[in-house]
Amino acid sequence: MTVNVLMPALSPTMEQGKLAKWLKAEGDHIKAGDVLAEIETDKATMEVEAVDEGVLARILVPGGAENVAVNTPIAVIADEGEEVPAAPPSGERPPPAAPTQEPLGEEGKAQRQADVAAATPQPKETSIAPPPQVSAEPEVPAGTLMISMTMREALRDAMAEEMRRNPNVFILGEEVAEYQGAYKVTQGLLQEFGERRVVDAPITEYGFAGLGVGAAFAGLRPIVEFMTFNFAMQAIDHIVNSAAKTLYMSGGQINCPIVFRGPNGAASRVAAQHSQDYAAWYSQIPGLKVIAPSNASDAKGLLKAAIRDNNPVIFLENEILYGKSYEVPSLENFVIPIGKARIAREGDDVTLVSFSIGVDHALAAAEVLAKESIEAEVIDLRTLRPMDVPAIIASVKKTGRCVSIEEGWPQSGVGSEIAAKVQEEAFDYLDAPVLRVTGKDVPMPYAANLEKLALPSVDEIVAAAKAVLYR
């Protein structure tokens, strides 16, 4: 049996090259791995190695030949003692073309590309996967006993309940155990669950994020606490490259049930490196879910959902809200579905869309506006990915006006996404451009007055709402 040696491609873009010289001559015995020839491209000189054993029976393209197309037969290797005709053996199977079974002309290639484009499934309306369907049943049944607790306590209870429910859930992070949490969110958990399940990590965000991902690949359900999301910047490689992408890269084999949680955004007077809002960053990544609750009840129900979810979930908390008290339903199994927004206040005149602490600002602005007989509807997104776009659109179709509020920077922010969605899906209903109230486009300053100026204010939201109402 004879085997054709083909002109190899040495990079994904190479189409032809120079066959610089032959290092073997006709009649030479060849072992697998022997260097047969040298090939030159515009970038480099490369060696062609033999894959098969035998005798170099024919050289079909002489040394020094220029512009030899990739996949051209350049030599024939035969078994010992085999007769080889002068021309390349006609019975030899042609080399298989890369993705298709038959060679295509230029026209055929163009047609095929068009076919592929036509066959590519497009999710309805946009290139972003639609949010999941969630039930319309009320999250809290009428008559449920409500108890007052802080955001901090609600988060702790959510974790404790899920740890009691599933022995594979554990907490890993800096100061989560002995210290009881840098912000006391994990208070009492070490005492209840022990050091096996409440693990103090060294100050090593990249390392323990990656370690958590490995444990999740192996089937555990880690809750990784970042002391703040500012420090998770060191770990974002594992969050994005390892946690978010592996299910896809493994063809659905390896999922990563992990929660990364901690305070996000500005606290108070901690300046530029400790005050960043990462909502927009994480909400851009397919493979992640991103949650940013505005109150203790949502925080509890959503953190429980996040811990039960089979995907990596980014859970963005807010330090300023930790100590605030809210009514939380006293329910055995209180889980809020991920991906469902909440109407925090109803109104017909303008839609204010926000999340996390921004909802407080929006509600305060709505109070001010109400005194001027403007009824604002406040939508608390709760989940940023998948985003409950239908809830925003339904409200905008009612009000015709929309303002987004976030602490993050304006460029490519969550508000930018909201504005894009609203103009895509409710353009004909808009009576004014969508406006964004955001953090200012500067690193967070330290001085009290400057920090206040850098963050979105109630006054700015009121002004934006009036602007879209032309008042």
Binding site: A44, P95, G207, G210, A218, T246, L247, P257
Partner: protein, 335 residues
């Protein structure tokens, strides 16, 4: 510290005499990887494999020797020079080759490619494209073993280049602190892409890279599958007994460039030729088998033929398999 860091290599080798069956198994498994990689290189040249393709040719003894020392329940994780690890873990050459070709029957349905393949069934956890990332991921798998008290060991591979990444040392610290059952295996093939170890590393003895964390280490002739197996036996036993992590530096060599498009001008042809002629891991086994009269040329030829047939079938399977359905674009984003 009780780590057996002072073991001499001849003691290891003495402990590592292979039976005829072990020699033959090592020969076959290494040959399978060699032939697979040669075929992959050829298919890359034909445009059937795209993107980055990092071949394992020359390093076969490392993963084969470690696999021989491990149990099927132990987990393997490595970086992007991963084809050999998958084959050693018992993954099907057909599925690996189909993935390299971006076809639907590949291990990742054609969505991962050369650098991103996994098999939960075979306890192979990737296949990771970011240099250094396997270290904490492998330690995390070991953490899960510890948590479940299942006595499995995580075999975590990375290269001499990755050994200079900060996350590796973050991981060393946690692994020793929590006594995680993980063997860190540095495949020192002397070049981090085109930068030689001496040009990139202040401490070129990678077995000492764990000293600051009290992790015992051994420097091993990674071209001798018996030495690899013996060292892995020691390391795995250390981990399995609950002593914490272990570090193995496997001194090895890749014959090919870093990836397919690397002309390898940073080293001499003579250096490559010398390694191939004097240290080839497969040839060493072959010579021993024949010299000891443990086998005949005929028997080795029949193994060669069997391996060639498997590889030819894998290549045929991959080239005739179809590309993924366009609808696969949208699957496996979320679980």
């Amino acid at each position: 510290m009780a780590g057996p860091t002072d073991l001499q290599s001849d003691i290891i080798l003495k402990a590592a005499d292979f039976t005829r069956e072990q020699e033959l198994a090592a020969y076959r498994d290494m040959l399978l990887i060699r032939r697979f990689e040669e075929k992959a290189g050829q298919m890359y040249g034909m445009g059937l494999i795209g993107g980055f393709c990092h071949l394992y040719i020359g390093q076969e003894a490392v993963v084969v020797g470690v696999r021989m020392a491990a149990r099927p329940t132990d987990q393997f994780v490595t970086s992007y020079r991963d084809h050999g690890h998958m084959l050693a873990c018992g993954m099907e050459p057909k599925g690996v080759m189909a993935e390299l070709c971006g076809r639907r029957s590949g291990y990742s349905k054609g969505k991962g490619g050369s650098m991103h393949m996994f098999s939960r069934e075979k306890n192979f956890f990737g296949g990771h494209g970011i240099v250094g990332a396997p270290a904490p991921i492998g330690a995390g798998i070991a953490f899960a073993n510890c948590y479940r008290e299942n006595d499995s060991v995580s075999l975590t591979f990375f290269g001499d280049g990755a050994a200079n990444q900060g996350q590796v040392y973050e991981t060393f610290n946690m692994a020793e602190l929590w006594r995680l059952p993980v063997v860190f295996i540095v495949e020192n093939n002397r070049y981090a892409m085109g930068t030689s170890v001496t040009r990139s590393s202040a401490q070129v003895d990678f077995s000492k890279r764990g000293v600051a964390f009290n992790i015992p280490g051994l420097q091993v002739d990674g071209m001798d599958v018996r030495a690899v197996k013996a060292a892995a036996d020691i390391a795995i036993d250390w981990c399995r007994k609950g002593n914490g992590p272990y570090l193995l530096e496997m001194q090895t060599y890749r014959y090919r460039g870093h990836s397919m498009s690397d002309p390898a001008k940073y080293r001499s042809k003579e250096e490559v030729q010398r390694m191939r002629e004097e240290h080839d891991p497969i040839e060493q086994v072959r010579v021993r088998l024949l010299a000891d009269g443990k086998t005949s040329e005929q028997e080795l030829k029949s193994i060669d033929a069997e391996v060639r047939k498997m590889i030819a079938e894998a290549a045929d399977y991959a080239t005739n398999d179809r590309e993924p359905e366009p609808s696969e674009l949208w699957t496996d984003v979320l679980a």
